[in-house]
Symmetry: C2
């Protein structure tokens, strides 16, 4: 049930509409927990039913009205409770691994091209994260509190993407030199 808590964290930092939350999930938080607007709307309603958030209708000029959500007392309590509770360490779930494992049962050069494609994609994400890191956290050892935590989460993204890129690189090298031998 991490999406609820991701939303609670985001809304605690700043109140916002479902649409705005979806935008935020496209950036920062969503790099580590993706969510579509449909899911966010549904979860927001459930959270309101549970009394974790409340909304106020806000009229706008030239734009549709929006519902601005903010965290209620029960939501703050729930977040604190959840923060003290253990969560499962993540487990790999990589389709590319299955493809690689089955490569000899099909067109293995197609699998190689697929690994190259993944390397390129992970490289792009890595560059995005590194750009954010340089721009928003140029002096990391000066950070504390919320900013430090945000920086460290971003570091997790950098490390993960870097390690995917490195793995793809190792696979590409190994498959190519196998082809040559």
């Amino acid at each position: 049930m991490a999406l609820e808590h991701a939303i609670l964290v985001s809304l605690t930092e700043r109140a916002g509409s479902g649409y705005e939350l979806a935008r935020r999930f496209d950036r920062s938080i969503g790099f580590f927990w993706a969510a579509t607007h449909q899911q966010i709307y549904r979860v927001l309603r459930r959270m309101e039913d549970s009394g974790w958030v409340t909304h106020t209708e806000v009229a706008q000029e030239g734009r549709p009205d929006k519902k601005v959500y903010r965290v209620a007392e029960a939501g703050r309590a729930e977040l604190t409770r959840w923060l003290a509770e253990p969560v499962e360490p993540i487990t790999l779930r990589d389709e590319l691994g299955i493809k690689l494992r089955g490569a000899s049962l099909g067109d293995s050069s197609a699998v190689l091209r697929e690994v190259e494609r993944h390397r390129a994609e992970h490289n792009i994400r890595l560059e995005v994260y590194l750009t954010i890191q340089r721009r928003d956290f140029p002096k990391p050892d000066k950070l504390s509190g919320r900013e430090l935590h945000q920086y460290l989460v971003l570091r997790g993204g950098v490390r993960a993407e870097q390690s995917f890129v490195d793995w793809c690189e190792e696979v590409i090298q190994a498959l190519r030199s196998e082809g040559i031998r």
Copy 2:
């Protein structure tokens, strides 16, 4: 729909019952794509309905009968088709990241302890993978074909777990020295 294809890969290597598949998923393949027996049984039935696999009832002494599944022609075709098709590069989905991001809204020393716990867990997994690597692939540059692919998938696991451990380490260091300052 990667579970179907993971099962196809596994059954191509060797025919087996749902129970045996569940055991295999607890080891090798399951390190990269976890599945419970319930899910495997359900998917096997669906796969049989699609004509991808067939089963033969096998009577055993001292043990319950079992249904041994093997890949049918349509299954082989499906696997080849899927292998040539692109899949999504994986995206991080780490609850620990959300906890860290919200750490300042709750008991941040509890979050630190949680990161330490995750580090320990990822270290255990890393050791398991490294043990398999040393035992089953002592001479990696001599590998080719299916064995090479298996080795490379394992390398993905090693790299991923190592990078989680390193990240946890970075987080622990940063949170501790923040506490001291």
